[in-house]
């Protein structure tokens, strides 16, 4: 099966799931309508109505983890091709990737020492 056919199957799988979901929605709509009642469509917070909008500038505490993750994530892109050819290349591949991983680990250690790996 050539590659393009495989991607076509994946695309078909996605469209098939969308079809399943839409048919389920149609079945649910056929079963009955949702009745509009006061207070029903307000976000439910455990017995009280919270009407104020909640879309605020959410203060995430893992910002420094995120920065380190953005840079560290790239290492994965280089590791997959290396892993595939590793057995052929033998020792030079191990040393090569060793240097690469050591460099990245250095960055991680620096972050660790600057207390970036903590809940800010």
């Amino acid at each position: 099966m050539s590659q393009l056919q495989q991607y076509a199957i994946l695309f078909g799988l996605t469209v098939g799931t969308l079809g399943l979901v839409l048919s389920l929605y149609a079945l649910a709509r056929a079963i009955g309508k949702t009745r509009k009642e006061p207070g029903k469509d307000v976000p439910a917070t455990a017995g009280q109505l919270s009407r104020d909008p909640v879309w605020v500038r959410y203060h995430a505490r893992y910002t420094t983890f995120a920065l380190l993750f953005l840079a560290f994530d790239m290492e994965m892109a280089f590791m997959y091709p290396w892993a595939v050819v590793y057995k052929e290349e033998g020792l030079v591949a191990l040393l090569d990737m060793g240097v690469f991983l050591a460099i990245l680990f250095l960055g991680l250690l620096y972050g660790w020492s600057q207390s970036a790996l903590k809940r800010q």
Binding site: P38, G39, K40, Q48, H59, Q120
Partner: protein
């Protein structure tokens, strides 16, 4: 009629769905699962599963006692439950804002099982019916109030312009006051400022420009030598360099000392950049400056000025005590401020004149459903002290008190298990609690090995101590008289409560029998009496004044009243999950809080 979904002629599929709904019941217990356990009802055994919120539930189970604030909250929860839904009332007759209950049963395990079976029938028959009515309740009405985007504390009922900054007020929907548990404090917190974004009007160069310029920004690095830096929260902390305040870690803000007003001419501080934002060169008119918006807001611990939201963790929050109204101001997922209230506090029953001693004892016991016998003992002892009489079976009474303490600690463990996701502990503690509550002396002795084996299992739960020992650090001089523990954190309190169970078991074994708590015969004695009882949550004391066999005045001081002040320091700047576990670890009973 208020529970079923509308469909003209229900067909086979609707019947099937009705039967399926009947077999998969998700219950939202009002006031809370602890009440069911205290009343000896085993919901799991009856085939009901706990719902985590109103959207997840299809059965509303009402248990006595129910105040009107609790009923208002129940009507809000019922309104938010998706149809088909049903109301089951056990041992409760008048549930005014809620519609007529679908099934009435009496408050016992047999009554519960019988009402669950009739509930399955009810769902099978009229999950779908053609005559349906909308449910409405006073707590659901909403009215429009107007508030200024820049100053959330300015609130008025009709449109106009804000007295402080002249911007026109923005409509905002809010509940009518009858629905809210207590007066919404006028000083709304940050939350309404994000409603500010509903305003599309541009920033007018309002008179308030003047004070912007004065407020010099704390440019952390290039602090010039003459400026003084002080901490916004601790003005007495004064330092001549930028940094963070040793007391609270907040960033030190530059203060406008008189001496340096004229002298600052340092490069980066050119006077021109000091002028207000809107006079910056090259700025398009109508530019919505963000500096103005984030200027006044307090800084979080990592120096960023973020917006806070006020989120209610209301009466039916799984994991928190039932009926405990908690409102947290969240900065991200850190708690910045916590305000507590109670949906079912007790009220002094002496407003309408003195009542005789026997009724006072029954009345106090009725108001405290989570610890009825404890407060009955407290009332009897206080009245007997006032009448200088001593009851003969005092040590047997202590055995009853110990039995109730064990039941209360086991309910606390169920709550902790539900909050931390430990289903095994939650189920086992509930089962043991149901056995203990109805047991007489021999049964308790037979239960002792099972109980101590369960205590060992809880202590051996992997990672439980590690999860709890960083949480719930009580401030040093706080008046905490609950179970004393060596380590001052949630893990210490867990171990203290487990030891409390074993001590109570030993006490019951020593007492030899469980005594019935009856008020000694006092005739028409008079005088002052004081008594104090060591309840599961701490020391409760009652001061009673008797005249002619009648109680004229009584002053009750319960542990939960004192411990609610601990909630704020306990949860300050804590992560949300830790704050909730800390609150659960001090085991507040909203029934013991004043209304």
């Amino acid at each position: 009629m208020f529970g079923s979904r509308e469909f003209s002629k229900p067909n086979l599929l609707h019947g099937l769905i009705g039967r399926a709904t009947g077999n998969d019941l998700r219950v939202l217990v009002v006031p809370g699962p602890e009440l069911a356990l205290a009343g000896g009802l085993d919901l799991m055994d009856a085939g009901l599963r706990m719902a985590s919120g109103p959207r997840d539930a299809n059965v509303l189970l009402l248990l006595p006692p129910l105040g009107d604030k609790m009923l208002n909250a129940a009507s809000v929860a019922f309104a938010q439950m998706p149809r088909p839904r049903a109301i089951v009332a056990l041992g409760v007759k008048n549930i005014s804002p809620l519609p007529e209950a679908d099934i009435y049963g009496e408050l016992s395990q047999a009554g519960l099982i019988e009402s669950v079976n009739s509930l399955r029938l009810h769902f099978a028959q009229n999950s779908f019916s053609n005559s349906v009515q909308s449910f409405d309740a006073p707590a659901l009405q909403s009215r429009i109030e107007y508030t200024c985007p820049m100053h959330p504390e300015v609130v008025s009922n009709q449109p106009g312009s804000c007295p402080k900054c002249g911007m026109d007020l923005v409509p905002r929907e809010t509940g009518t006051d009858t629905g809210q548990p207590e007066e919404k404090s006028v000083q709304k917190t940050q939350s309404s400022s994000n409603a500010a974004h509903a305003h599309s009007s541009h920033v007018k160069t309002a008179p308030a420009e003047v004070d912007h310029g004065e407020h010099k920004k704390a440019d952390g690095e290039s602090g010039d030598a003459t400026a003084k830096y002080t901490c916004p929260m601790h003005p007495e902390v004064v330092s001549d360099e930028p940094g963070s305040c040793p007391k609270c870690g907040m960033f030190l803000e530059p203060v406008k000392a008189e001496s340096d007003h004229g002298s600052h001419s340092h490069g980066s501080h050119s006077h021109e950049s000091e002028s207000s934002v809107s006079k910056l060169i090259g700025l398009e008119p109508g530019f919505m400056s963000m500096i103005e918006m984030t200027e006044g807001t307090p800084r979080s611990s990592d120096g960023l000025q973020m917006e806070w939201i006020t989120v209610p963790f209301g009466p039916f929050f799984p994991g928190l005590p039932a009926g405990f109204g908690l409102e947290l101001t969240l900065d991200g997922d850190n708690v910045a401020k916590a305000t507590t209230s109670s949906f079912c506090g007790f009220s002094d029953s002496l407003e309408n004149g003195p009542i005789n001693a026997g009724d006072y004892v029954e009345n106090l016991q009725g108001q405290m459903p989570l610890a009825p016998l404890t407060y009955r003992l407290l009332a009897c002892r206080a009245i007997e002290a006032a009448a200088e009489k001593t009851s003969e079976n005092d040590n047997l009474r202590d055995a009853t008190l110990a039995q109730e303490r064990i039941a209360s600690q086991l309910r606390w463990l169920t709550n902790l298990g539900r909050q931390l996701g430990l289903k095994g502990i939650e189920r086992k503690a509930a089962k043991l609690q149901l056995l203990i509550i109805g047991a007489d002396y021999e049964q308790i002795i037979k239960l002792t090995p099972e109980l101590s084996q369960f205590i060992k299992k809880v202590k051996a739960t992997p990672f439980l101590r590690r999860r709890l020992d960083a949480v719930g650090e009580l401030p040093p001089q706080s008046n905490w008289d609950g179970p004393q523990s060596i380590e001052n954190n949630a893990a210490g309190r867990l171990v203290a409560r487990l030891d409390d169970i074993s001590q109570s078991l030993a006490l019951i074994k020593k007492a030899g029998a469980i005594g019935e708590i009856k008020l000694a015969e006092i005739g028409n004695a008079a005088g002052h009496g004081h008594a104090s009882v060591d309840t599961a949550r701490g020391k409760a004391n009652l001061h009673v004044e008797l005249k002619g066999g009648q109680v004229i005045s009584a002053k009750l001081d319960t542990p939960s009243m004192r411990h609610t002040e601990l909630v704020a320091p306990l949860t300050d700047q804590q992560e949300l999950g830790d704050a909730l576990v800390a609150i659960a670890s001090i085991d507040i009973s909203p029934w013991e809080m004043r209304v």
